[in-house]
Each structure stands twice: as C-alpha cells, then as structure tokens.
C-alpha cells in the first residue's frame, strides 16, 4: 500500500470579503455628509433697520441678476432696534460673505426719475448685494436703500449748498445749456441745518464742464412775472424740470478758463440765474459719450482680468 502524501494545508489568513461592506458603507456615509455640508453653503446675518416684505424661505438674495442665496429666518433684534435676517448663501456665492459687502432690500419704486425694481411688485421684495472683497465675515449691517453708484470712473459728483431744496427730488435733471448732463443723487440738511446739501452726479464726459468758477442755479418750477414795462414773462426750462425741478450751471468765459473742479467739491446753488450767466459760453473740450463708454468697458474687462 503506497502511502498517500499528506496534503499540505496552507492556512493563509485572507481578509474576509464581507468586511468590504462596512468599508463601503463608511465611504458612502462620509461622501453623503461631505456633499451635504458643501451644498449647505455659508450662513450670514444681515441687520436691517426695517425688514418690510422680507419672508423666511421665500426672499432671495440676488447678485448680478441671479439668485445667490435664500433668507432662512427673519427675527426682531433684541431691544427692538431692528430686524436680523439670516441668509444662506449658495455654494458658488460663498465669497460674497466678505467684509465690506453692502446689502439692501429692493422695493418697487416708481417716480418721475424712473421705474426701479418693478418686478418686485409681483415676486415680493428681494435682497441685493454689492461684494466687499475684504476678509471673510459673517455679520453685516444692511443699507436703508441702494448705495449710490460707484463714481470712480463714471463721471463726477458735486455738492451744492442751497437755502431751500426747492423741488429738487432725487433723480431731478442737471442741465448744461438746457442739455441734460446729470442728475440729483441725494439731498440732506447740512449739519447745522441752516442749508440744504444736494449731491449731483454728472455723467462721464461732462464732469469737466464744471470748473472752480462755475455757478449753479435752480431751474425748478416756473415763474411768471408781470411788470408794467416788461410785459408778461414766463420762465421755464423743460417739461421735466417743470415737474421735478432741476439744476443748471454755467461757467464764466471771460479770461482764462478756470481749472476743472475736483469731484465732491462744494458750490452754492442760487435760486435764480443772474442775467449774464446765461450768456457765458466758454470753450471746454469734452470727449464724445461713445468714446467714454468704450474706454469704460475696456477698463471693465481689464479689471475683470486682473481680478481673475
């Protein structure tokens, strides 16, 4: 009887295949958690003095016309000093949560100077934001109204000081030789309340029309004068300024042309023009508005490229 060779028993300890299942489960669980956290986006809080129309879960934050986040909750702040709106930013909009960002509520606005935010009549109010670009932040203070447009390379703003506001509402036109070159941006009482400060903005190519010697006057409303020898005189500039009021200005043409006034310089606003102001006609070189728009858009593209 031949002996059968004894079998070699190898006891290689193999990893039981079934233990792959908990590993897969752990991997899927982690992936679910991470994707949920990533999609959740960033939570920020914006404090407003007034939150009329803002609804939790419904009001959206828009930037460049598209949704950048949703209002999660609206609460009164302790002490009833305002409302605190908690926003959840979309993942792609997380960089809006940087200090310096300006938030405001867009209400429908219909006035002589234009119609703004008309869609919010139907959709309810929405929040708008202007990014700040500072370090990341979570708490912001909202603006009462939309911030004044950035004026760095889009024309120039000036401040007029007047005894009375007249009928100069926000958006009222600013004329040069009865040609509209800008509009009234804002107005407020001066610090000592003896006068009214009016901020005007001139569109891009027309900023240079204002020199240090320029005189401003109010063209608001119309005046009707009857005198014994002069007969009847009706004064008005345009139908628009008849309703909303307006500002006009002129620059003296005698002697050398005064230097261009820097932005935000202050002028007095006369209630009526003196007679020779209307005759002043200095030669001031300005670019055509198209050239300005073109250079601005080029600059805009350049800025975008630099940011990237």
């Amino acid at each position: 009887m031949s002996s059968i060779p004894s079998p070699k028993v190898s006891r290689a300890r193999t990893f039981p295949l079934i233990w792959v299942v908990p590993l897969i489960a752990a991997a899927i669980g982690c992936w679910m958690g991470i994707s949920e956290l990533r999609n959740r986006g960033t939570d920020i809080t914006v404090n407003f003095a007034d939150g009329s129309g803002v609804e939790a879960g419904r009001t959206v934050l828009e930037y460049k016309g598209v949704s950048a986040g949703t209002v999660e909750s609206v609460e009164l702040r302790p002490g009833l000093v305002g409302v605190s709106i908690r926003l959840r930013l979309n993942r792609t909009a997380a960089s809006l949560a940087s200090s310096g960002a300006q938030f405001w509520i867009v209400h429908p606005e219909i006035s002589f100077s234009g119609v703004k935010g008309l869609d919010t009549l139907v959709t309810g109010v929405r929040l708008n934001v202007l990014p700040g670009g500072g370090p990341p932040a979570r708490l912001f203070t909202g603006l009462d109204k939309a911030p004044a447009p950035d004026v760095t390379d889009q024309g120039r703003s000036f401040i007029l000081q007047a005894d009375l506001l007249g009928s100069l509402t926000t958006g009222a036109p600013v004329f040069y030789r009865e040609f509209k070159v800008g509009k009234v941006e804002a107005s407020r009482l001066s610090a000592d309340s003896t006068s009214v400060l009016i901020r005007i903005h001139l569109d891009a190519p027309y900023g240079d029309l204002v020199r240090t010697s320029t005189r401003f006057w109010n063209t608001g409303g119309f005046s009707f004068k009857i005198s014994l020898f002069g007969g009847a005189q009706l004064k008005d500039t345009s139908l628009e300024s008849l309703v909303t009021g307006g500002v006009a200005f002129a620059t003296p043409d005698n002697g050398a042309l005064a230097p261009a006034a820097p932005g935000d310089s202050q002028f007095a606003l006369a209630s009526e023009p003196e007679k020779d102001w209307l005759k002043w006609a200095p030669k001031i070189q300005i670019k055509s508005p198209d050239a300005v728009a073109q250079s601005q858009s080029k600059k805009g593209i350049l800025n975008e490229l630099i940011k990237q």
Partner: protein, 174 residues
C-alpha cells in the same frame, strides 16, 4: 467526538457582524442628514427624521409623531443593539441564555420587514405631491442612508445563524 454534518454545523457569524457594522454606520447619516425637502409656495424646508417628528408633534399630530419616532428612530437602533448583543453572546467562550437569545433573534427577524415606514412615506409623498410652483416634495440623501441601514440590518439578521447560540461552552460535558 461525534460531529454534526457540515450542513447542520453552525457557521461563523462574521458576515452578520460585518453587515451589522455597515448598518450601524449608515444609521449615522440617516439620522443626521435631511430626508425630505418640502417646498410649498416658494418657501422650502428640509427635515431630518428627528426634526420631522418634532414638527409633527408641534402641529398636534401626536400619534403620528410617536409612530414616526418609534418606527424610524427607536426600532432601528434597538434592532441593531439587539443584533450586537446576539453577536457578542455568540462569540466562543461567551455565555448566555440560549432560549432568551433565540427569542430576541426571532423578534428582530419578525420586525425587520416593518421598518421601511419612512422610506414608503417619502416615496408616496414624492410621487403624490408634485404641484410645481405650489408644493413639491423632494427626497434627500438621508432617506437613502436610512433605507440602506434597514436593508443591511435585515441582511445581517438573515446572515446570523442562531444555532451558534446553542453551541456548548467549551469544557462542559457532552
């Protein structure tokens, strides 16, 4: 030593242990992540299982809230805990009352098929409530994790061989 034929011998329970561990892992996202997003007239709300039960309780639907809480949170956890206990008792060298442990096993096996309440609810709501702008229900990843946990628990229970509970302790007279 008279040995049982291999078909009657108790198998190793490592398969059951692995599946139970996987089920326990899946229970974590199932309870932490939202299971449903309800969007009604523009405002949307995401609920986890627990916040859904709390929401039902606040709306005065105490009975339904209790059912959801029991069926979706208490029972899955109890089932896994029971299974874990069985697996510990089945280790060689561990002692326990085989009769009682077998009853627990039977109970876990019986209850397993009834734990998909949340998944059914989510499936029904998602199918039914699709009114576009007015009201929409969308399932979220939490419900998938929950279903996976339930299925894995059932599989683990099936893979568990209760005969190991009756294995004689080493050293006892045969």
């Amino acid at each position: 030593m008279n040995r049982l034929p291999s078909c009657l011998r108790a198998k190793s329970n490592s398969t059951a242990a692995a599946l139970a561990l996987a089920a326990a892992i899946m229970l974590v996202p199932a309870n932490l992540l939202p299971v449903l997003t309800t969007e009604s007239s523009g405002s949307d709300q995401s609920n986890t299982i627990f916040s859904g039960a709390v929401e039902l309780w606040r709306q005065g639907l105490w009975a339904i809230s209790a059912i959801v809480f029991t069926a979706s949170i208490v029972i899955p956890v109890l089932k896994l805990a029971g299974l874990g206990w069985l697996l510990m008792s089945a280790r060689p060298g561990a002692s326990g009352n085989p009769r009682r442990l077998t009853r627990i096993y039977a109970a876990i096996n019986f209850i397993g098929r009834w734990s998909m309440l949340d998944v059914f609810l989510a499936a029904f709501l998602t199918g039914l409530v699709q009114f576009g702008e007015f009201s929409t229900v969308t399932p979220r990843s939490g419900i998938v994790a929950f279903a996976a946990a339930v299925v894995l628990t059932v599989l683990a229970t099936r893979a568990f061989d209760p005969r190991v509970l009756w294995r004689e302790a080493p050293g006892s007279p045969s």
